[in-house]
């Protein structure tokens, strides 16, 4: 400590009771938001690397669904696809559900983020972060950005599996860039929502259950069968729930088809979910702990 002691103290500014110190103290949080978020992102990326089993588990889910739906149900479901002369086959069905499966990949990783956020909140280091002069929300931003990167990797792997199974499309580079862009946006919005769920949960178990609807809702959307095939009531729900325009737009972009008003609906839903999720998470995290 002796050589350290000879250096000047980081915060050896004279204490004053006037406003100047306060300005400096308060200003630090905003000035360093980006830097603190980058620091927290590095921390979360290290966590993801050190704890790969969660990523593998989360990734296995959409891949299993893809294999199950293509090889078990794919022949029958493909035959029922509309707009194909003489009915479709297994490979048509693969093309049909791949966008939905990519969406489920995002949802699966988002679910994992609820778990990792809730787990993180049980550790003592979060209390330490609360006593630091940092942009506090960076703790959450780190989780969200880490999840977006993890989602990116997962989506690439799942897409590669789909290609291995025979997925081909007429989509150009622009279309695929659109797919990537929209998936990132979806990941960003769903993750802010699940970070909130992780913070709101009173236990890690609860945190792993509450976001389950993210895995169920894609089934009641245009993801696995055309919504026209559903009975009235369910069909209206499927047509108007937020995930349908997202999956429709992913499908249009990935197959080289023109996008329609669903694109703006998808972006709008993402923006709304992200904003509400962010505000909710921030409020939960910044509230003073109850005990």
């Amino acid at each position: 400590m002796s050589e350290l002691a000879s250096e000047s103290r980081q915060h050896s500014v004279p204490v004053s009771h006037d406003g100047s110190e306060r300005q400096r103290g308060a200003g630090m949080s905003t000035t360093y938001t980006v830097r603190d978020s980058a620091t927290m992102l590095r921390r979360n990326l290290l966590h993801i690397r050190r704890y790969p089993s969660l990523s593998i588990l989360l990734l296995a889910q959409p891949i299993l669904f893809l294999l199950l739906f293509v090889y078990v149900f794919g022949g029958t479901l493909g035959a029922g696809l509309p707009g194909l002369p003489g009915g479709g086959d297994r490979s048509d069905y693969l093309v049909f559900i791949t966008p939905g499966i990519l969406f489920m990949t995002v949802a699966s990783i988002a679910l994992g983020t609820a778990i990792s956020t809730a787990t993180d909140m049980t550790t003592g280091i979060i209390a330490r972060f609360r006593t630091l002069n940092i942009a506090r929300v960076s703790v959450l931003t780190g989780h969200v950005l880490g999840a977006v990167i993890r989602t990116g990797l997962a989506v690439v792997i799942v897409a590669a599996v789909a290609f291995l199974l025979g997925f081909r499309s007429d989509a150009g580079l622009l279309g695929w860039l659109g797919v990537v862009g929209l998936l990132v946006l979806i990941a960003f919005s769903l993750t802010w929502l699940t970070v909130g769920m992780g913070l709101a949960a009173d236990s890690v178990e609860t945190a792993s259950n509450t976001p389950m609807f993210l895995m169920i809702l894609p089934f009641i959307s245009s993801g696995f069968v055309p919504t026209d095939a559903m009975p009235a009531g369910l069909r209206q729900f499927a047509e108007h729930q937020p995930f349908t325009p997202m999956i429709n737009t992913l499908r249009a972009l990935a197959t080289g088809a023109p996008t329609d008003s669903d694109l703006w609906l998808a972006i709008g839903w993402c923006a709304l979910i992200a904003l509400l999720g962010y505000l909710w998470s921030r409020r939960l995290f910044l509230r003073v702990p109850a005990k």
């Binding site: 400590m1 050589e3 350290l4 002691a5 250096e7 103290r9 980081q10 915060h11 050896s12 204490v15 004053s16 009771h17 110190e21 306060r22 400096r24 103290g25 308060a26 630090m28 949080s29 360093y32 830097r35 603190d36 620091t39 590095r42 921390r43 290290l46 966590h47 050190r50 704890y51 550790t123 003592g124 280091i125 209390a127 330490r128 972060f129 609360r130 006593t131 630091l132 002069n133 940092i134 003073v288 702990p289 005990k291």
Partner: protein, 318 residues
Amino acid sequence: MATTNPAIEVAGLTKSYDDHTVLDGVDLIVPEGTVYALLGPNGAGKTTIVNILSTLLTPGAGEIRVAGFDVRREPAGVRAAIGVTGQFSAIDELLTGRENLRLMADLAHLDRTTATTSVAGMLDRFDLVDAADRRAQTYSGGMKRRLDLAMTLIARPRLIFLDEPTAGLDPRSRRDLWAIVREQVADGVTVLLTTQYLDEADQLADRIGVLDGGRLVAEGTAAELKRRVPGGHVSVQFTDAVALAAAAAAHPDASTDADALTLQVPSDGSIAGLRRLLAGLDDHGVAGLTVESADLDDVFLALTGRAAEARTAEEISA
């Protein structure tokens, strides 16, 4: 140190949950560069005070300034000045020791070169060089505590809060930790520590506040507190029963142990009192003599009407 500018100023601090009162009007002043120990049993309110002073909890009522900043209105200023090592390990177990320190250096907004130097310096000072690149979850209790403290100190805070810093540590680790605290104090840092270990407060603190049921029941230096309570005595050991009986007759307030040939004479610790006692003793009849002052255990008992809960610490360190 500038006593005009206390590091911590607390007046009339209260905190309660529903109808349960945790802090019931605490007044506290800690001058810069001094060590203040909050001594009390579990549930006395020690951690609540630390949490309020470190902006983790909002106070009920009272005026609270830390490093000159109001904890309610200027929490960012408070946070920029303080470092906190809590009762429970605040390290990231998935990261290595080096990564943990680097994380804190980055969050303290140190520049790259300073951060690297500081991390290396801390690993060296806290004897963590060999374990630097191992995950913290593999560390022993003592190593985790050292890493925890190093993470607090890497930002060079002017004021540190140590909430039961040596709870659960073995005697050697405790002494290591005490040495680190003393170095900080020598460097001008103000320390507020909580402890239920009486000897720890005695060892480290300039002033001690005895907290019981959310109130400071006594405050002062260790010596002042000891003086406030009876319990000091002079033990005189005699060579034979006759000499013991003679001395016992001269000191009716003393207690006699006939088997050990010992007489315990109450003492206020003053030289004059001791001189009077010695004057009345026969040189040839006395085998030995011990002066014992009250220890903080006696103080605690006298002030709160019951013994401190954690006496084991004294046994461990003995």
